[in-house]
Symmetry: C3
Subunit: 138 residues, 3 copies
């Protein structure tokens, strides 16, 4: 069994947004030289997500509107968490979108359907955040 680990760093210049990280994950897979196995990709911060969906800007606007409806940022004082912080909504949004994805590795490639792309979802940005890639296999 081989294992491989890499961290990505993202600094989004606004509070919320979605970044397609599929190219970086693919690069990590190539560096690992693993041909068969499982790849874990997770946000290392609890106000961010890694998820798989469509690379379509209209859909990303819909995600933003929808998450704001389900777990609005403001007013800040509706959340107990927001004593010294203002990011309770980010912790909730992250639960809807998820922390991590697991991708099958087959013949040295991400074993994806036709439209699957990996996204980093930031809900409390404007600072360095880390993403972990861990691959195990052969």
């Amino acid at each position: 069994m081989i294992s491989y680990r890499k961290e990505l760093i993202i600094n989004l210049p606004k509070r919320r947004g979605f970044v397609n990280i599929t190219p970086q994950v693919n690069n990590a897979l190539k560096e690992s030289n693993i041909k068969e196995g499982l790849l874990l990709c997770n946000a290392m911060h609890i106000t961010a997500s890694v998820f798989i969906n469509d690379d379509e800007s209209g859909l990303h606007q819909d995600f933003e509107t929808w998450l704001e409806k389900l777990a609005p940022e403001k007013p800040y004082n509706i959340y107990h968490h927001n004593g010294y912080e203002d990011n309770a909504d980010a912790h909730l949004k992250r639960q809807v979108m998820g922390r991590e994805v697991i991708v099958a590795i087959t013949n040295g490639n991400l074993d994806f359907g036709p439209w699957e792309q990996i996204f980093y979802g930031e809900f409390d940005g404007k600072r360095n955040k880390k993403i972990l890639i861990k691959i195990i296999g052969e």
Copy 2:
């Protein structure tokens, strides 16, 4: 380490529904001959889910009602994604229900609690959709 891969194909004759795929996943596990490891089962399409919950038809009606409340199908024009498409709601519903499950494999079996069953959740059906099963272990 052994790895095993299989695709399932599902064509649901309506837009939304839930299908218990535990028997097919179990068959794949038996074919793999893997006794200890991890099994990944994921929707290969981004308007569908694989998740674990209860095989109870009343609950499945509750999921349908609840998901329509959280992310309604119509009116189509409330979603930016629905320019050439009408399935923005399916992309949102899939985030609530999840893309994938990971199941422990122990003594050659799905290592499940008493009521755990694996479901495919379709949110934009009436066409062929693929599910991936990948198992690694020994």
Copy 3:
């Protein structure tokens, strides 16, 4: 490849609550002697969750309020599932919070960001519930 399996048992004296199980998961990892690999931790019951977020009591109150808004416990008769049961809401809440987490194991440790902690989320308590830990690696 080594594999390791352990069950935790939790009996929460109320219907809903969150328990930090990171110490128990860490103990299991040390017992396994696995240094590189992947760790799966999942609820074995379908009215409970395992998830990663912040160990902050205000946030846990926010989760409770938010989940009750998204999928209220009462009135019981709004759910088809509640013929002989009263826990339909617990099945829905568990979908928002997720069934499982996968954690990278690096140098014999849980490979975590600065605030990541593993929680058991109970949505239908007052009885014994099981959590599965499965680790594979070397």
